[in-house]
């Protein structure tokens, strides 16, 4: 078993380092200092953490105002409340106004497990990727998280970072160079492409190993940026592997799979499977149980790929 990392820690450490180097970096928070792991930033820069209380619309609006004043605000909240409660502020105050705001949604997907559907954030790709001028990123491991946070701080314009709290193994080292809108190929193969992001990337890699036993060579793409999408990588995958399986910790309505399908059907139409939460409110259960329940496991991904390849194998 490899060591598992909570990507919030990479986020928190990078944020403090950024804060040391640039005093424009500030944090805006909604009584979630513990869960967003911004306590270290507060302790180091007490004046630069603005806790607006339990008030997410205010949270995002205040973030936009701080950007107007020349600050670089990291607006941190549980992903469900940040995107669900303040979506219009995200659209109007941040994206449409092109405010230099970095939205950080933590404990995304079904990380809040038994707290239920109100606390699951499985609609946030659909909501945020529909908004123009907003970069939407779900990093897969600590290194990619740290780089995404740094890149967000150094790139003018609105960004939404979707972070989990579920443990993930390290996939990258310092030699990796994350770019917005650029997929990273973690494994090459010619029979099928598995496209995932966030906590699902590791599971896609494990599925690729399972597929080997069936004589199927799977390509694995980490599509960390959902908007803007790496169309080139998707078109190449469709052309070169002829079949795609997308995997996301999100509803299958309007998320990563939909985004990929939008490209595929208009360029190189190939068979696809879209794996995720199939358009329901998830039941009560811990995160690992829920992923299992919805087949978001290496085995589930492997089965979907096998089914897709069936006509060819026969």
């Amino acid at each position: 078993m490899s060591t598992l990392f909570d990507c919030r820690n990479a986020f928190a450490e990078t944020l403090v380092a950024l804060g040391e180097a640039d005093e424009r970096i500030v944090v805006v928070n909604n009584d979630s200092i513990g869960s967003s792991k911004t306590g270290a930033f507060r302790d180091r820069f007490p004046d630069r953490l603005i806790n607006v209380g339990i008030a997410e619309q205010n949270l995002v609006g205040v973030g936009a105002g701080l950007a107007n004043a020349g600050k670089i605000p990291f607006v941190c909240s549980a992903a469900c409340f940040l995107t669900g409660r303040a979506l219009e502020q995200i659209k109007a105050d941040v994206a449409y106004s092109n405010a230099n705001v970095k939205l950080v949604g933590v404990s995304s997907g079904m990380a809040y497990g038994p707290l239920g559907a109100t606390h699951h954030s499985i609609e946030d790709f659909a909501w945020t990727r529909a908004i123009a001028n907003l970069t939407v990123v779900a990093p897969a491991d600590p290194e990619e998280t740290a780089q995404a946070v740094r890149l967000a701080a150094n790139t003018p314009g609105p960004v939404f970072l979707r972070l989990s709290r579920m443990g993930v193994p390290a996939l990258y080292d310092h030699s990796y160079a994350f770019k917005f809108g650029k997929a990273s190929m973690l494994r090459d193969g010619g029979d099928v492409t598995l496209i995932a992001n966030g906590v699902m990337v590791t599971r896609a890699l494990e599925a690729a190993t399972l597929l080997e036993a069936h004589g199927i060579e799977a390509r694995v793409l980490n599509m960390a940026t959902v908007r803007p999408l790496d169309q080139e990588a998707i078109i190449a995958a469709a052309r070169e592997t002829g079949a795609l399986v997308t995997v996301e910790e999100h509803t299958t309505y309007g998320g990563l799979g939909s985004a990929v399908a939008e490209v595929v059907v208009q360029t190189v139409p190939v068979p696809m499977r879209i794996l995720g939460v199939p358009g329901v409110f998830a039941p009560t259960g811990d995160p690992a149980w829920l992923l299992e329940h919805f087949g978001l496991t290496p085995e589930g991904i492997c089965d979907a790929a096998l089914e897709l390849k069936k006509p060819v194998l026969r």
Binding site: I54, C80, R85, P114, G116, T118, T284, D286
Partner: protein, 281 residues
């Protein structure tokens, strides 16, 4: 409706015993689930007990009775206190509490009206209960119905602007069939409310929005029975009851500690807590 035939002292004794039983069961349930909102459950228990066992006109055998009083648990994270109260009031078997937050249990971490009898609306995101309560109260007025609407909010929760939008609507429309109870335990998730974004002067805020306001000790059954017995406080105005409470009430080492917002008692802490509560009956 408050029973006036039983002597008040006896009524209070019954409530006290029930609240104690609720606290014990709730703490065991949170310990077993390994998750829960301990502090806010305990601060709300006496209010919930008084409402469900003396005040609300609800019938566990007919939870959807159109003429029932509506109770909305806006601070939905305190589902533990709500479920335990509903179970003892007969809405579902007490034994079911041991499924709290287990896979496929209907006792989700936040209440789900589509699954649990007695739950009026799905809460969990803060600041949702009062607008829904206002809508229900307007509906009752349209029908000239006698049923009433009650909603329990946290105090940190009042930082959500939606509450004040709803408060303005209720004040404007003079919804005297609506009562909001604020669980004024002075703590929110990470810190004291006063250190985060202060609410004071809280009573003045509600008055300014057109509400009649009473302040009571939220652990004093006598005071709670008095104030609930005299609703509405003013004809033609919605009522706000600011219930001064203590987060973690009933367990000395949990009381008034922000750290117990969602901390789960260890086996040892559970035993100590139960011993204290049992000694108090």
């Amino acid at each position: 409706m408050i029973d006036t035939s039983t002597p008040r002292t006896q009524q209070i004794e019954t409530l006290r015993r029930q609240a104690n039983q609720t606290r014990c069961r709730d703490l065991r349930m949170i310990h077993e689930a390994g998750m829960g909102h301990t502090g806010g459950d305990l601060s709300a228990t006496d209010i919930l007990t008084t409402l469900y066992f003396e005040v609300l006109n609800v019938n566990p055998n007919n939870p959807a009775d159109p003429n029932r009083d509506r109770f909305i648990m806006s601070k939905g994270h305190c589902s533990g206190a709500l479920y335990t109260t509903l179970a003892y009031r007969g809405f579902f078997p007490v034994e079911e509490l041991s499924t709290y937050m287990q896979p496929l249990s209907r006792l989700n971490g936040h209440p789900d009206r589509t699954k649990v009898p007695g739950v009026e609306t799905n809460t969990g995101p803060l600041g949702h209960g009062l607008p829904v309560a206002v809508g229900a109260a307007i509906g009752a007025k349209l029908d000239q119905a006698a049923w009433r609407v009650f909603v329990l909010t946290g105090d940190g929760e009042l930082q959500e602007g939606s509450n004040w939008e709803a408060a303005m609507t209720a004040g404007h429309r003079g919804l005297d069939n609506l009562t909001v109870i604020v669980d004024r335990n002075r703590l929110q998730q990470g810190d004291a409310v006063a250190n985060t974004v202060r609410l004071d002067p809280l009573a003045d805020k509600w008055r300014a929005f057109g509400w009649a306001v009473a302040e009571v000790d939220g652990h004093d059954y006598d005071a709670l029975l008095d104030v609930f017995g005299g609703l509405p406080l003013e004809t033609g105005k919605p009522t706000c009851i600011i219930a001064h409470t203590h987060k973690g009430k009933g367990v000395s080492f949990m009381e008034d500690k922000a750290g117990w917002h969602h901390r789960v008692p260890t086996a040892d802490e559970l035993q100590k807590a139960l011993a204290e509560l049992e000694a108090a009956v």
